[in-house]
């Protein structure tokens, strides 16, 4: 599955540098896949905690960790969830650990090693402006 880098508007005009993103659907929230930035330097896959209840994911009585993201101290809560990616033709689902974080400063999720990169052969071509993922058995 290939995904073009996504460009976004800049507040001052023009557009922000296009980024490698993949839209990941949480089980329970198939109608609104979450835009996630591919982060090869991240150990975890992280999303905003406000998304968990929208997908019916209960975060009580589970593992948590404190850490800093973008210079902000936050708390991540662990959940094992089923994730799905699709390019409109192909679709792939897998079971993965996701850390739901509160507060969460980013405008998107982060697709890191655990939960995402370990499940795919990933090719990033910034020159051509696309990200390609191939599920690994």
């Amino acid at each position: 599955m290939k995904f073009p880098f996504r460009a976004l508007p800049a507040a001052g005009g023009g557009e922000l540098t296009p980024r490698p993103v993949v839209d990941i659907a949480l089980e329970g929230l198939p109608a609104a896949p979450i835009e996630c930035l591919l982060d090869t330097g991240a150990l975890r896959t992280r999303m905003s905690a406000e998304l968990a209840p929208l997908a019916g994911i209960e975060l009580a009585d589970t593992l948590t960790e404190e850490f800093f993201v973008a210079g902000l101290r936050t708390v991540g809560t662990f959940a094992r969830v089923n994730l799905t990616v699709t390019d409109g033709t192909e679709e792939y689902s897998w079971d993965a650990p996701v850390w739901f974080c509160d507060p969460w400063p980013h405008a998107f999720g982060l697709a890191g090693l655990e939960g995402f990169l370990q499940h795919f052969l990933v090719t990033v071509s910034a020159y051509n402006g696309y990200l390609e993922i191939e599920p690994q058995p």
């Binding site: 995904f3 507040a11 557009e15 922000l16 409109g88 051509n128």
Partner: protein
């Protein structure tokens, strides 16, 4: 303030009245016609129904569109959005060229997102389905209208919001 008659009732309306009536309301899906108010596309019947309190069965789309264009709002007919904006339309061809990627074809989405900087959006292809202050509002709108988005995210306020600088 202009006076107009809709379905036998007389109303005094101007742009401010219309814009005020839409505060806190999310636009419904565009079927064919739309009017542009505050940088967003609205179904004409939804707008006139909100402004007048009339049942939408009491007037036609064309009557609503005519009334709103008389107030100075631009109106247009949507292109065949369902064909253009399905998830598959954003795919990359097997040749490896990035359709909708960093070339000029990416710009329609950039421009469509520009009015919604700082808001959560649901997009499908180059179409912004809904923009709202929270993901909860976006998901509720998708469920209410039976819509399926390609992606949901907050349109970042700045490059720093993407690059990882600490929020102040």
């Amino acid at each position: 303030m202009p006076t107009m008659t809709v379905s036998g009732h007389r109303y005094q309306l101007d742009r401010q009245v219309v814009e005020g009536a839409l505060e806190g309301v999310l636009p419904e899906p565009i079927q064919e016609h739309f009017v542009v108010i505050n940088g967003r596309r609205w179904p004409p019947k939804q707008v006139l129904g909100l402004v007048t309190g009339l049942d939408r069965a009491d007037f036609t789309t064309h009557q609503a569109r005519r009334a709103l264009t008389r107030l100075g709002f631009s109106a247009a007919r949507a292109t065949n959005s369902r064909e253009q904006h399905t998830p598959a339309a954003g795919r990359i061809t097997s040749s490896g060229s990035a359709s909708g990627g960093t070339d000029s074809r990416s710009r329609p989405l950039v421009e469509a997102l520009r009015p919604f900087i700082g808001l959560w959006v649901a997009v499908r292809g180059d179409e912004v389905l809904v923009a709202a202050p929270s993901p909860k509002d976006v998901v509720a709108w998708l469920a209410q209208h039976g819509q399926h988005a390609q992606s949901m995210f907050r349109v970042p306020e700045s490059e720093q919001a993407i690059a990882g600088a600490a929020p102040q």
